[in-house]
Amino acid sequence: MRLLTKAWTVGVALVTAGALTACSGAGGTTASAGGGSADQPVKLTVWSWDGTVELAVPGFEKANPGIEVEVVNAGSSSDEYQALDNAIQAGSGVPDLVMFEYFAVPYFAVPGKLADLGPLGATELADDYVPSAWNNVVMGDGVYALPSDFGPAVMFWNEATFAEAGIDEAPTTWDEYYEDAKKIRALGDDYYITQDTNDLFFLLSLIWQAGGRPFEVDGTTVHIDFSAPETRKAVAFWQKMIDEDLVNTKISAWSDDWNRALNDGTLASQNMGGWLTSTLPERAPDAAGDFRVALMPQWDEGEKVGAENGGSSFGIPEAAANKEAAYKFLEYFTHGEGLQPRVDAGAFVPNRSVLDSPEFQDVENPYFGDQKTGQVLAEASNIAAVGWQYPPFFEWARSTYGDIATPFYTSGKGSLAEVLQTWEQRSVEYGNEQGFQVD
């Protein structure tokens, strides 16, 4: 027993010592990265969960001998933002380039945690991006990130299931979509045109397309309003779909159930970001050849208005050590020569130079029955409506939305409009607590 205790003590001491050296080791690297002078090679740390960024590194290092790039996956989305917040607070280990979903850019930019890329030359790149993507990274006069991938809202529809229901074309208006939903529902118990279990980003893309702009942000002043007629129109439509049992509210996206239902064709369509093009084949390999991509249905016949659903960008923290070198690499992989290797590997980018190119538009995609999906995606990107804004505390707001919306989706009691109203109230409360002026 005594021997055990002794071994334990020694073990603990060793572990502690190890942890201490590990800490000082990490501190050491940061310090050396911070002190990179002209004759010493500069080392850039990039935080990214987009695997394609790495592909741009070899070319960049070759063209810029003084700069070394290390791409690190510091977690996806919330995990990474948390890590960045910690690093900024601690004042050490701050990376030089960080990936952000578009809605997270204001969260960091408004409190001054992101560098304005305008003076570094970002303003000149505006014309290469589709308007809506550029709109995501600009706040006031500043440019706080460069778009790296894009999520134009499109409809993935299973041609085989639609055909079974006697429909041979994708719905072009939401009215048609509603009629098709009824026909597909009639195929059997498990058949639905789509599923929704409080998918906030889908609902927002619907509102976005209808012309609603529930968030208005100007510096630290935020206005939230879900009562505009355009917003109400979109919400009422989806309410009708749910009320009439035309939407499966049992299967949530990305779950195992979802994969299976996409595979066996019982979920007939998905309105999602264009990025699903590259992941759908993994999710639903059995449905190869059945799915097609179409523009999202329109509110008025003959119109062509789009919206966004997801997408991300890269920014440079204000506390980063090597802003100029970081910008060089950022420009290289989001706009310059580093873009092509990423596109070849499946990245979906909002750069006009890529979207409008014949290489992108003329490729036949075997999974989608040899459809030239690039054409649809490019068009959806170009028509994505501008003017949408996210409040700086959206990261918090989206987690709260689930709490508020779940009771409605499980019990069917209440309405989406009430859910949004409660959400608005909570967001106003939280925003004011956080020091913004919110109404």
Partner: protein
Amino acid sequence: MSATERMTRPAAASVPLPGGAPQQYRRRRTRQIGWAFVAPFGILFALVFIVPITYAAYLSLFQDRMVGGPSFVGLANYTKLFGDAQFWDGVSRVVSFTLVQVPIMLVLALVLALAMDSMRLRGMRFMRVAIFLPYAVPAIVSTLMWGFMLGVRYGLFGSINGWLGTDLDPFRPSTTLISIGIMVTWAFTGYNMLIFDSVLKAVPQELYEAAAIDGAGELRVIRAIKLPALRGSLVITVIFSIIGTFQIFNEPQILPSMVANSGITTYYTPNLYAFNLAFTGSQQGYAAALALVMAAFTIAIAYAVQIRGMRDALDQ
């Protein structure tokens, strides 16, 4: 150490100093050596326990704001917490969970331990390991496993519903907590059983022999010998279980990504609420206040159970 004593002892014996100074000196030395022995533990305890708690207490006096940074707010976080309906929702959930789950689990563990100890079962070693094994499975893995097993669409319950034509759903908002209770019971029954089992093993054989001579049957032996022997360990297991259930986190954290609309909110348990406040709401100060209040609450209940248990044990 023996060398120094040999040096001090003759000195103390041969030179009679007034006031007994060497005696005191020696006592102080002994005390210092005692500190040296405690130091490895003391330093670690301070580093991983006292320092973080003090830091949390310090943090809890500040409010973090995205605009303007942290500001000192005194006890405002605490007053806000006591009026926070979401906090109380989580607290009442874990309290009612504890009231139902802990007795069920401990009775189950007790019955299993007594069965093991009855010497009438075959393959006891295997049984003991098999029942204990769930404790060794990480909560994340077991949650995933149970999530698939209890899943309605393609899981085990899907098949059961298919055969029986029923519409059971273990992950409805009204049933999710029961499902979590089953997961927790599955994971911890073996652990508690092992504690009881080891206590029963320590009961002197003579007691059983005496009981047998007196003509006591198996039930009588359980009532008169085994249960009284288990009393002390019962108090311990109750305390451990209360601490454990008050800190439920893994299950409600993982389940929402597996099943839709399980009714799990961001404030489902106090621990989950603290996590979400700190990590998505960037309200570290408020989260720290919550964590401290919950710690005080847990300690108070554990202490009450202990005192109660001790008193009962003394009454015996």
